[in-house]
């Protein structure tokens, strides 16, 4: 069992780094598709964390903190809704479907890869 304060620090620092990295990707790819990129990469990384036998601190810092904050649901939901509201339900539907299909596939790939390597 990780000490509560240490666990909180691990999550917080991982979260700060994840938010920064997401911000950087958003500045590099200035479109809604940057969200697909972060959500897919972050889900792949979380899959690796789930598949590799790491300690609780690493899981908290990388899995809950970094991957959790690097990926985002709120921006995804607002983007989907505003795209549909702007009269483009086709793009909104494709965007919503692509996010979940790519994220789940990436997560399974990450955890599968981790199990093979370790």
């Amino acid at each position: 069992m990780t000490e509560p304060l240490l666990a909180a620090m691990a999550v917080g620092i991982g979260g700060a780094a994840g938010a920064l990295a997401r911000h950087a990707v958003g500045l590099a790819i200035e479109s809604r598709w940057s969200l697909v990129v972060v959500n897919t990469l972050g889900s792949f990384a979380l899959g690796v964390v789930i598949g590799v036998p790491t300690g609780p601190s690493a899981t908290l810092a990388v899995g809950v903190g970094f991957c959790g904050a690097f990926t985002t649901f709120s921006s995804f939901a607002v983007e989907t809704v505003t795209t549909a509201e702007a009269g483009d339900p086709g793009t909104a539907t494709a965007f919503a479907a692509l996010n979940v299909v790519a994220a789940v596939a990436a997560l399974l790939t990450g955890s599968g890869l981790a199990l093979v390597v370790t």
Partner: protein, 115 residues
């Protein structure tokens, strides 16, 4: 502001607090797979809808939007929970999360435009 060091600091500080709050909600939600994640994603989608219609200052958008709310919600754990629940329950979890998240975003946007 978006590309400055101060902007990055606001995003990081918001991300620290957002991830920590999500962790606290997840602990409070207990051992039900996906419940904590569903809660943060729905609440966060409402909050971001409200924020994007109300926040005019870039500093607020970076700290609260890009930093706090976007880190409070998560997609990777959402995907992991959906996989952990198995094909049938996992698909249901995705449908419920999407429906509730979109409705929350619509409500937040509508409220923000009305205020």
């Amino acid at each position: 502001m978006e590309r400055t060091l101060a902007g990055a600091a606001l995003v990081a500080a918001g991300g620290f607090a957002g991830a920590l709050t999500r962790y606290a909600v997840d602990i409070a939600a207990g051992d039900v797979t996906g419940l904590g994640t569903l809660l943060v994603n729905v609440v966060g989608s409402f909050a971001l809808g409200l924020l994007v219609t109300r926040a005019t200052e870039v500093r607020t958008q970076l700290f609260v939007g890009t930093g706090f709310v976007s880190s409070f919600t998560t997609y990777s754990t959402f995907a992991a929970d959906a996989v952990a629940l198995g094909t049938v329950a996992g698909t249901g979890y995705v449908v419920v999360s999407y429906a509730a998240g979109f409705l929350a975003a619509i409500a937040g946007l509508a409220l923000g435009r009305r205020l």
